[in-house]
């Protein structure tokens, strides 16, 4: 599991939001159902984060459009995502493989969000670490049930 917390979000000013919860639901739903073939309930609890998060994957978009996208999960769900990606039994996955899997979730959602906005921006490589649950008020926080485990996606635009 990750040893270091991800840096405090640097984006703290509100801007006209380009990403709505419906976008996040579509992007996450497509990822989990079409590609990973995992059960996913597309009815988010907006404004709520899961209670006991263990792991967070983050990508940043910089340029004409600036945003951070955080994907937050429990160890249990992270292992299930790893199983869906690697085909390795959850208990046999290495920490590196779990971080790789979570990073790809953030990468896909972040890349898709960049596509929704369609601006001249750059997508960072994913960072994976311990959750940092301090967000600005305008952050879009949506929690879903994925394979019966909560998964939170936080989108912070500036």
């Amino acid at each position: 599991m990750p040893q270091s917390a991800i840096d405090q979000p640097t984006v703290d000013s509100a801007a006209t939001p380009r990403i709505a919860v419906e976008h996040v639901t579509q992007m996450a739903g497509d990822l989990f159902t079409a590609m990973l073939r995992m059960p996913f309930q597309p009815e988010p609890r907006v404004g709520e984060c899961l209670d006991c998060p263990d792991i967070q994957a983050t990508v940043r978009v910089t340029g004409q459009w600036n945003a951070e996208i955080h994907v937050i999960a429990s160890n249990e769900l992270a292992r299930r995502i790893g199983y869906a990606m690697f085909g390795t039994e959850p208990e046999d996955l290495s920490d590196e493989e779990i971080c790789d899997a979570m990073g790809e979730v953030a990468n896909v959602i972040g890349g898709n969000a960049k596509g929704v906005v369609d601006s001249d921006s750059n997508l960072s490589l994913p960072e994976v670490g311990e959750p940092n649950l301090h967000w600005p008020e305008h952050a879009l926080v949506a929690t879903y049930l994925c394979d019966d485990c909560p998964l939170t996606v936080v989108t912070i635009e500036s």
Binding site: D30, L31, A34, M35, L36, G82, M85, F86, G87, E97, D100, A101, G103, E104, N107, V108, I109, G110, G111, N112, K114, G115, V117, D118, S119, D120, L123, L125
Partner: protein, 120 residues
């Protein structure tokens, strides 16, 4: 046909390889590279007919890899499998010589539709 999958994520390389089989392309030989430098070596030494490359990778981005492949004169058919789905990305890819761009997340059906003209 030999297919080279280039992605810094081992998880994504496995998903692409597995989805190729699910999409009906199981008769091909799949080789992998985890970065652009390794990909260039494998293109030179193992002569794949098709490259399926990520866009956003450390050290050498997928578009730089494509440009180096073209500069070296390799005739390999090159396409991207990427979460970057903007019109700008797609235009840059196709203008640089990519023959397709498949957006993540993808299904076996979506991959089949995009790759059938390339692999069959």
């Amino acid at each position: 046909m030999k297919i080279l999958i280039v992605d810094d994520s081992k998880a994504m390389r496995m998903i692409v390889a597995r989805t190729l089989k699910q999409a009906g392309f199981s008769g091909h030989t799949v080789i992998e590279a985890s970065n652009g430098r390794e990909a260039l070596e494998k293109i030179a030494n193992e002569s794949p007919e098709v490259v399926l490359s990520d866009w956003n990778m450390p050290e050498m981005k997928g578009i730089e890899l494509l440009q180096k492949v073209k500069e070296a004169g390799h005739k390999v058919r090159f396409g991207f499998i990427t979460s970057e789905s903007s019109a700008e990305t797609r235009k840059l890819a196709l203008d640089s010589g990519a023959v397709f761009l498949l957006t993540k997340p993808f299904s076996a059906e979506g991959m089949q539709a995009i790759l059938e003209p390339v692999l069959c």
